[in-house]
């Protein structure tokens, strides 16, 4: 790449009357996307993220409640995790172009594919959480049920966070460039969703840890999101504008309201606890849908690929030039 770096910018305006290019200074091919967009339906994939989080963090709450003598909450969370993981699998199958070929997901074990790793993880986690719920509800095999509860709780955190890797392991700028913080956003959001469900379904007398879990989740998500957006630079725009921006703002308000409401008022009666819980669950769903749509926005607009990559090239070139100078070989010819 030897041409003057601003050549492209200069030319952009001349390219033809119908060119639709956003304001940022960059060049593109008639504003056409660089990346292709998969035929992923927002509710299926956003739902898959959300339900995985709800299930995974829910298994942790179930085990915690079981171990600290909160049987009603424990049972509710075992059931909700089972329902959530079943629904998330249904969402995935629904989204496949060829549902009949779902079995091909388990055709190979491929460490380089988070979708393969994740499918195997779910294949182990699903039966465990299902067994935990069935044993509890049916009142059979208490020992096996407890073992399954603990097993599901150990896999739960992975179930809740692997979806962040699933999203980040793509060329999608809003997801890939956020790979450091996205798992923490997902972990926080998962904790908030599970705590919300526990507030909705568990009795008030058992809900103290649940209310703390809501605070923890909301705080973790808020901090991680802030960090992610500051690191993303211009890509953060995708999380702040359009549909994704509206969803992310709603998520913020709902999650904060649910967590604070739960912490302060959730011990004072069912209606308040349930209301806070519902806000938390809705907030988590908004976060996941927001992340999905932010990714979509960065697939559709070439600027999110071109501008950061240009910046990267420039930085690399400058670093190389600095090294050259350090060696005393003089500045490179312009």
């Amino acid at each position: 790449m030897t041409a003057a770096p601003d050549g492209g910018r200069r030319r952009r305006k001349r390219r033809g009357e119908r060119t639709v290019v956003p304001d940022a200074e960059f060049t593109s091919y008639y504003g056409k996307p660089i990346l292709n967009t998969p035929e992923w339906k927002p509710l299926d994939i956003g739902g898959y993220f959300f339900l995985g989080g709800l299930a995974g963090a829910g298994s942790l709450l179930a085990a915690g409640a079981r171990l600290t003598g909160r049987p009603a909450t424990a049972r509710a969370m075992k059931v909700s995790s089972t329902v959530a993981i079943a629904a998330s699998t249904a969402a995935l199958i629904h989204d496949l172009g060829r549902p009949a070929r779902f079995v091909n997901m388990l055709r190979v074990i491929k460490p380089t594919s988070p979708m393969s790793t994740g499918s195997w993880l779910l294949a182990a986690y699903g039966p465990l959480t299902g067994a935990a719920a069935v044993c509890d509800v049916a009142g059979v095999l208490p020992r096996a049920g407890d073992a399954a509860t603990v097993g599901a709780a150990l896999l739960g955190p992975a179930v809740a966070t692997y979806t962040a890797v699933l999203a980040a392991d793509t060329a999608v700028p809003a997801w890939h460039e956020g790979y450091r913080e996205l798992p923490f956003v997902f972990a926080g959001s998962a904790s908030a969703a599970a705590a919300g469900t526990a507030l909705l379904a568990g009795p008030v007398r058992e809900n103290r840890p649940t209310r703390y879990a809501a605070l923890f989740g909301a705080g973790l998500e808020a901090v991680a999101r802030r960090r992610m957006e500051s690191r993303l630079g211009m890509i953060a725009e995708a999380y702040r504008t359009g549909l994704a921006g509206r969803l992310m703002r709603s998520a913020e308000v709902l999650t904060a309201a649910g967590a604070l409401g739960g912490a302060l008022l959730g011990g004072r009666g069912r209606p308040l606890a349930a209301l806070s819980g519902a806000a938390l669950v809705a907030g988590s769903a908004c976060t996941r849908l927001g992340v999905f749509h932010a990714g979509k926005a960065t697939m559709a607009d070439p600027k999110y690929s071109v501008v950061p990559q240009r910046e990267r090239l420039r930085a690399r070139r400058e670093a190389a030039a600095a090294v050259d100078q350090g060696r005393g070989s003089g500045p490179p010819a312009a």
Binding site: R15, G16, K32, L35, G97, R98, R180, R208, Q309
Partner: protein, 318 residues
Amino acid sequence: MTHSHDAPGPARTATTPDTATATERVGFFTDTSVCIGCKACEVACKEWNAIPEDGMELTGMSYDNTQGLGASTWRHVAFIEQSKPLVERAEQQHQAEGEQEGADVFALAAQGSGSSELRWLMSSDVCKHCTHAACLDVCPTGSLFRTEFGTVVVQEDICNGCGYCVPACPYGVIEQRPHDGRAFKCTLCYDRLGEGQTPACAKACPTESIQFGPLEELRERAAARVEQLHRAGVPDARLYGHDPDDGVGGDGAFFLLLDEPEVYGLPPDPVVTTRDLPAMWKRAGAAALTLLGGLAAVFAAGEAIGGPSGPNGRRHLR
């Protein structure tokens, strides 16, 4: 964007060509400086591979009505209209004419070449058959595989339509076919290679803009061609995707371009996403432990501060 882009190391996966190649690695060198935009490659590809029709739309943006690569477009000829001289000596004359920002290209064209240097860039785009191919790395079913020729091919009967390869490709090449869901892309005419034949597009190209052959040989030929163009006063000529040290370990199908890659709709610095996969798992592991620790602490705090607040009493395992 602070990660180590300075030295894009290869994504160490089990699927890079060196481990799977039995025969010599082959590829395409597309020399866009001789492309005349005839689209013979697009047609030959569609015909040979029996690719379905995917819209007969007039874009109005240029002579390019194909728009981009996709499930049913495996060769795409980009068509760019610029007010920019091709050869250096025209550059000074052009500058003397002053700024031409926002010029109406049709008006310029009407004036003829005496007063303006309108140029057309044409380039036949295709799957890059990356050395480190993200599509192949992320495919959960093993449908995408590395052939004995070092190319990347999808197996229709194994693909389950998950669509994961689509956003993984940093070039926007592979795509799901609507109403089918499965992913399709250029196979570098795998069937023809097996018979010792040249891929259909290269065979059809009347100007030898698309050159097919062993990758090493193509790289040498390309370096010589750039050199030649520079000497002829075309300083903008540059190779794209030829460098084995780039973010995807070099492309099996690489290009000679006459402008920045993004002008042609190509990413200026593509990186195989799986290069960062170990770091991603590390972060996810840390997040999972944070979740585990956080929720354990929450129960510990619940016990310490109040215990179960109702009559059901304290911890007792049934």
